[in-house]
Symmetry: D2
Subunit: 384 residues, 4 copies
């Protein structure tokens, strides 16, 4: 616990993602034996008053009202970016150029061009960089990856992934920033579709090499939000145009020869956060649904599916926590992410998912958008 192992963290943004990242920074050291002790040094936000209140509540020692100041501070070695996607590239590149390590929320950026610039900056800079696809750190998802690596399901024939939510089913739900292309980049595709593409590539160890896609915006206009920052804002009389997709469906091919289907939607009435992935291989199968996040289902050689309660000490990340059967929650995926990131920073290893992994997802999303625009034509995913 000596000073020389302490590392200063500065976080930009304190909404949903900022709250859960803070909880992870605050908790990680109590459960994992870390090579570096994070110090929650500074929080950046535009409003002084609100940022101060957030810092007090979330446990940050100081604040900045301009992220440009934050990335320059000497007491900050890690910059944690929890803002909407339109600012990721600018902040991350500045932080990397200032010699900081960077943890950036997903999707990596709002365009392939931005993501490429971020990858280039990461390659040129001394700091470590990581994109926060937190679902990789669900113990059940990490266990699925382990099973595939161990050859337990053989050759992958099928990936069947869906990310189903229902929070904008109501046509009177307001036009929040996540429904605006200039801020969010894309709709369900970017926000949640990116997660299932990353999860599919992570678990299988393969790339999505081509896609055929359909996208749709069911509700074209929505009430303007009094304030566009929160999910829960109430509607008003004036209406604006929804400029992102409400749902995206795509089918595609994997680099290993398998087939994959993906569906991202915010119109799946009754599904709250059903991030689901099923994988069928020549020797076995796996199935996961985040709504039951402590379970992984596994079938070997055509046998019945075993419900593995992923709470055993030898399951990924679980040994640090509670006895078997005492499940983890959503927030712990971030604790695991930050633990892995700190280890990478300490050892100089490349953390995963790297910015390059984030770009790989971005290229799939870009191919989806091109395919959807061009009559669902099968579209190769660029691979450089």
């Amino acid at each position: 616990m000596s000073d020389k192992t302490t590392i200063g963290v500065g976080m930009v943004g304190y909404a949903f993602m900022g709250r859960v990242h803070s909880q992870a920074w605050r908790s990680v050291g109590a459960f994992f034996d870390l090579p570096l002790t994070p110090r929650m040094a500074v929080l950046a936000g535009r409003s002084k008053e609100r940022t101060e209140a957030a810092a007090a509540q979330l446990g940050w020692a100081g604040i900045e009202t301009d992220w440009r100041e934050l990335v320059k501070r000497d007491d900050v070695q890690i910059v944690d970016i929890c803002t909407p996607g339109d600012s990721h590239a600018e902040i991350a590149i500045a932080a990397l150029e200032a010699g900081k390590h960077v943890l950036c929320e997903k999707p990596l950026a709002n365009s392939v061009a931005e993501a490429e610039a971020m990858v280039a900056a990461a390659a040129a800079a001394p700091g470590r960089s990581m994109v926060a696809f937190n679902y990789r750190r669900v113990p059940a998802v990490a266990l699925a990856r382990r099973y595939v690596e161990e050859g337990r399901i053989g050759e992958v024939r099928h990936v069947r992934a869906a990310y189903l939510q229902d929070w904008i089913v109501d046509p009177e739900f307001p036009l929040v920033w996540r429904l605006q292309k200039d801020k969010a980049g894309a709709g369900a595709l970017g926000d949640i579709g990116s997660h299932i593409v990353d999860a599919a590539q992570f678990i299988t160890g393969q790339r999505v090499v081509g896609v055929s896609a359909l996208t749709e915006t069911f509700i074209k206009e929505r009430p303007l939000a009094a304030e566009s920052a929160g999910l829960g804002a109430t509607g008003s009389a004036a209406r604006g145009t929804v400029t992102v997709d409400d749902a995206a469906l795509f089918i595609g091919r994997l680099s290993g020869g398998g087939l994959a289907s993906f569906e991202a939607t915010r119109f799946a009435n009754g599904r709250k956060n059903a991030m689901r992935i099923e994988i069928n291989g020549s020797l076995g199968s796996l199935a996961f649904d985040f709504e039951a996040m402590n379970e992984l289902w596994f079938s070997a050689n055509g046998g019945g599916f075993e419900r593995i309660l992923v709470t055993e000490p030898d399951h990924p990340y679980v040994g640090a926590w509670w006895p078997p059967g005492h499940g983890l929650g959503y927030e712990h995926t971030f604790t695991h992410e930050i633990k892995d990131f700190l280890e990478a920073v300490a050892t100089g290893a490349d953390p995963t998912p790297s910015f390059a992994d984030g770009l790989r997802v971005q290229r799939v999303l870009e191919a989806v958008e091109r395919s959807a625009a061009e009559g669902s034509r099968y579209t190769d995913v660029e691979d450089r």
Copy 2:
């Protein structure tokens, strides 16, 4: 139970489908109050010896070794076609022209052209005709249709359908007739994909109007079967080419503006007969999996999914059977189908699914094949 209400049935084929149809003909009268009493008059098959044995076991009074004789018999008013798809059109048209009623196994035919000829023959003939998409008669599926009709889920946003089996995962599984295009017409697409297309169109009351598709044959060559008629035949040294798809994925649009995804595969290790369909609407959602065929899941207005055990007296078809909680099995879908068919024959009403409904499915399958052949391009489904 007087003679005048008896109606003679002739069945062609006595393999899997013939066995289950026989059980339905034999049982239907004990449970439903029928306007006509079916008489299991004659079974047709090519081998005299085998057909006689089958007739004895399955309860048919006589046999024919040529279906052409069967369709001419005076004691046959209903012809039940349980052969592979390549003979459906010829038999059905002959039977209709002979003035018989026709119940024909699915898919209706091996091509759109054949299906069109069958629809034309049905329109011109005095008999009733029906295609045997038996899954419509799963009580839970019929209840799903009822819920949609009653407006309980509002506008349909998403259909998510999959039919998952795993019986040819093993590369040494032999080249049975279902893997040969000339006999089966198509692979997973025609055999099981047709069921989920029909179920989607039935439950939503809408048509699939366009599709974008990928198909794949994972195992290109297989051992020749000593006899290609049965699923369980063992392999041999000589190999032949698999000429049908192992899996078909497609996404598409519904006539009401919703999106749909379909997946038919025989390579979903551990899934035996997972005919699944989920529907998300503006007001509610439904979910079904045939592996738990007595259950329908329903969510109203974003609430939790209710597991409806579809065994109540007021559920479709269920009143004829047992008390609540005493579930039905696969075979009962055929009993229900035949009950409905007999009622249509008695009243002169058009049974559903009609040959036109079967053609509608066929057109979707044909668009899938065209799309898959043309780089997944979005392909309109013909609608005449």
Copy 3:
């Protein structure tokens, strides 16, 4: 299929049990290769008119209005008793004395004394006898038994059995015969508690050796039924006393040293026919719920529970039916029962469950009633 292998069956009663037995007699020969072909010779019931109608509908060749005539007929070799429990002993003993084989519905009798007389009659007579605990013939239950026999779960530590229904939750549900002690013998305890006691003894291969019990009648008076024969009869103004238990709970010890708990109730709102049994052993565990009757859950050595879809050809009874994943229903348990009974009759082997097995269940129920009457005192189950 020659005449000498035909065996005549006479059935007494045509209500719920009679209907499902008829379906089994009618179907069994089409699926199983039987040593004897059953002939549905005669149905007995008190009302000539109703019995004739039932015989016509259910497929019985003739009728009798007095079961005493039925048991004397030369064309009847098997007597199938589907009446309420108060007449089991008299009919069964008469049939056995007349040299018939007897299949008797459960519970074997309404008292231990009657059951003992039946066992004695069975021992003295040339015919085979069997009590119809049909749940033994659920493939999943038979598979559970197989797993225990094979040592897959080791020593049995716990049995946790419940049979939950809800059909008399409504206080206005009428006083049908099943709620009258003189006809039904007992309430939930005898009707459904007997099933779980038999299932527990069958699967474990052990006896329940002692019990401690509580019983309760929640609704003491109910409307008199216009007709007391059917479950669905509507209420009337006059009321009568419920003379059986609404629910019975008991805990006990197994002959092998394990502990067991049992609960039988008709007041489990929302549970329709939840006949559940879980068994925990030193090496593994099993779990079953009839509401999902095609599934058996198995855990080996503390691992996750595998959902075995009991529809594989090598599972008990399943090879005679459909391909994997095409589930069976409630009625098939009777088809299996009758198949096994016919084989026993043909070979002269003792069928199981025998009348002695039925008596063994009766003794447990009797100990439950004694314990409940005596302050739940632990009460040994008689074992002679």
Copy 4:
């Protein structure tokens, strides 16, 4: 966040319970708007070295090696007792007498006499006191309580509770303190049986008024643990006697006239932390299993069971956390407990579960032990 609202906390013990309590003290303020800001002032443990390491890791400002010093400190207003049950009474009474507020782990004590002394001390002292039955703070359990209070299930007919674990199935698992009566008070009965008794009384709002019980110790001797403090210690050659129950089964009556069954065991192979409770009422039913802790199942009026994902903002405690579908874990039950405790301390209200509630559970456990010792005789639970 001014100083005057800060309240000092001292915790005794830093094993499993100490770790999870620490996480709750550390996190609670970031999520709930508290009237008091807890300050993690001091941790007590016997070993100076270990306590210092634990304090550093878990975030406590100082340490004591004698809890007697801790309860005297001026910077401690709340004493949080996380030791085995044999020291609860002594520490809690001393703390209360020193004017502190006390949060005490469950079961309240190892005997009724101790628990009575604690209740008396709590009544006489100015501080608030609470026993840590954390499962009351599972959102799904709290929602179940809300549903019962709102009358949604009507009169309670049945409670069916089980707490199933399997961590001592292996006979070579060592003789840890939880298997020794002098330290743990009881075995499965006290450790996990206490939780389901409390949950049943909490959700129904009724008392268990009498019980009939069986207990068993399957493995009578076990290897002595090198160190008896941890669950994971490895075995050694020398053996000692297990002096607590391995499993306890009991059935009983509720103050409102319903029936209840309870089972607590550590021998349910494959069940890790299956704390289950089902309640059947005259109007509806509820079902919960901690292995899927974010789900509550609800049936209204005999309808299907609805799987309520208890992650909506209007569900108990949930509004403070994440969007719908982003589940919580085991640790959050403690965060909720501490939030409620701090509110009670601030307002002077009596927290629940109070020491009196803990005593009420203790009396049930004591009646269970008496009944088990006396041939399962139905034994009234004392109610003073």
